[in-house]
Symmetry: C2
Subunit: 353 residues, 2 copies
Amino acid sequence: MKKHILIVPGDGIGQEVTEVGKKVLEKIAAKFGHEFTYDEALIGHVAIEATGNPLPDETLEKMRASDAVLFGAVGHPKYDNDPSAKVRPEQGLLKMRKELGLYANLRPIKLFDELLGASSIKPEILRGSDILFFRELTGDIYFGEKGRKNEGDTAYDIAEYSRYEVERIARKAFDAARTRRKKLCSVDKANVLETSRLWREVVQKLAPEYPDVEVEHQFVDSAAMMLIKDPKRFDVVVTANLFGDILTDEASQIAGSMGMLASASVGDSTGVYEPIHGSAHDITGKGIANPLASVLSAALLLDISFGLKAESDAIIAAVDKLLKDGFRTKDIADETTPADKILNTQAAGEELL
Amino acid sequence: MKKHILIVPGDGIGQEVTEVGKKVLEKIAAKFGHEFTYDEALIGHVAIEATGNPLPDETLEKMRASDAVLFGAVGHPKYDNDPSAKVRPEQGLLKMRKELGLYANLRPIKLFDELLGASSIKPEILRGSDILFFRELTGDIYFGEKGRKNEGDTAYDIAEYSRYEVERIARKAFDAARTRRKKLCSVDKANVLETSRLWREVVQKLAPEYPDVEVEHQFVDSAAMMLIKDPKRFDVVVTANLFGDILTDEASQIAGSMGMLASASVGDSTGVYEPIHGSAHDITGKGIANPLASVLSAALLLDISFGLKAESDAIIAAVDKLLKDGFRTKDIADETTPADKILNTQAAGEELL
Ligand SMILES: CC(C)[C@H](C(=O)O)[C@@H](O)C(=O)O
Ligand SMILES: CC(C)[C@H](C(=O)O)[C@@H](O)C(=O)O
């Protein structure tokens, strides 16, 4: 198969982990006889530094022209500590999502057996949990009008959802539930928010079309609690942009570490694959970042954008083997890990496939 | 001391647990020689049934005329499944918060030693954690304009914060941090929301007035993860209404159970004290609800509204003793709890003081 993949490392450890993700794609191409070509583009802080723009037109054009994008992370502490900055790395990420119509963000939360002990949650609570989140990614309070009034003394953000926006993400979630344990949990705050009431209405209206899927509605506060108390009760979860942002980061603890979690953003055109973790400037340049989330993002890319299931499974099996062989990156190591089994970013990549 | 306390049980298990909270207040009055008088009023679903109004004027007047309010819970599944209902129990709760100016919601997350095993989180992660949340309670997306447009096909909710609103809650949190471990974590989503950027600006501006308090800013997604990964790193947490709703429910797992967590809502006038848990209609009428959150809310009431620290401590010590004596309500019992140590709601109340 011939495919063109755009590598967009972005900021911080995004650079380090995406390099490993790309290496793994190269190994897969060699092994399975595919012809993948690559290009690279800038986004986020590094794009601002180079061009003044967090998402240069050139990057967007390259994304549109590619068959899939392997993405790193964006963000820089400089902006976090300056709430008044007008140009920010995250704008590049949000604009990319909007421009490419990436309305569905899939975040599979699956625990590798070997990491059962790495979580702060008890193994007996975790064992067997397997959740697939569908986070809406191009609407909600992220994209509504925002600004200041009263001479800057009042700030506002508008959350907005249309029926159409809710329906298309809900359908994706229903479809996925059908191929899994046939349970869908829709998370909202319908006892307070009008956007949530519309959300619930739409999901309720779709439910009769999926009689084989058991639908449950949960308030976001209660869901945040239940995820930790009893993660096994969840199968597919569908929720709005902001709630999805919070709940999936929280749920990373179910997988033992944020450093293991991949995501796929799909919609109208090119799909974008990226780790859930951020740019992590505190460990940038040390070579200790866990590259497995980027590697598993590459696996999602092969499966979802290219339909290469065997190749995708080969990557997952390789990650599993690495863990079974006792290797760990620093973030998932514990006091029982022998020093010679602790791998840096690059070495972890070399150990795979 | 002469004080007038209004009991507002509300819906579901609110009725059952508040009865126990009141009994404990009566015992304290007898023991310490205080004269507490009581009245009762309706809110939520029961108020809608009786008067058509989730917060009748009479209830509001009684609240204003009392020295403190012991509150239960509001909510009813009937409305949850009907997103189009115009009159809803929660409107009573929100109107109460607004009308009484209850802008600061204090939620202490403290683990009783005996419950170390009751949580889904590992004991070694939990041991020693002690967090005090300050959730802003009268602003944000809860109270901005909300509605529909495009013939009902688009829903919107406006989040809003003024400098003044952020400053008053932040000051309360800074003041509290001074009396504790001197660490304040302000949680926002300043990389996306304008309200969060204002929030961060205000907290940053106040920080130099509290040089003895170490201030940290965290994004809400990351905070949701950190709370579970390493709860001990938090001391005082201050955040907006919606984020506070989600994070404090999540944090209930740090305390072993939602059924143990009390909260205080304070501001311009009468303080309101209530469990964090909701109306829990699935267990209503069974007499098995854990009343300890209501009992601990009574303890907060005595301490914060009446300045009766010794009396408040007596309640906390009584709860501690009940647990040390091996008694449990169903929600905090486990397979090691002998059947004769499992108490129903009323019996748990009788065991105290
Ligand atoms: C960086 C930030 C804007 C982003 C988000 O909130 O969507 C990130 O947290 C994510 O989850 O991809
Ligand atoms: C019932 C609901 C409106 C309420 C809230 O969201 O504030 C509740 O969850 C709470 O935390 O007190």
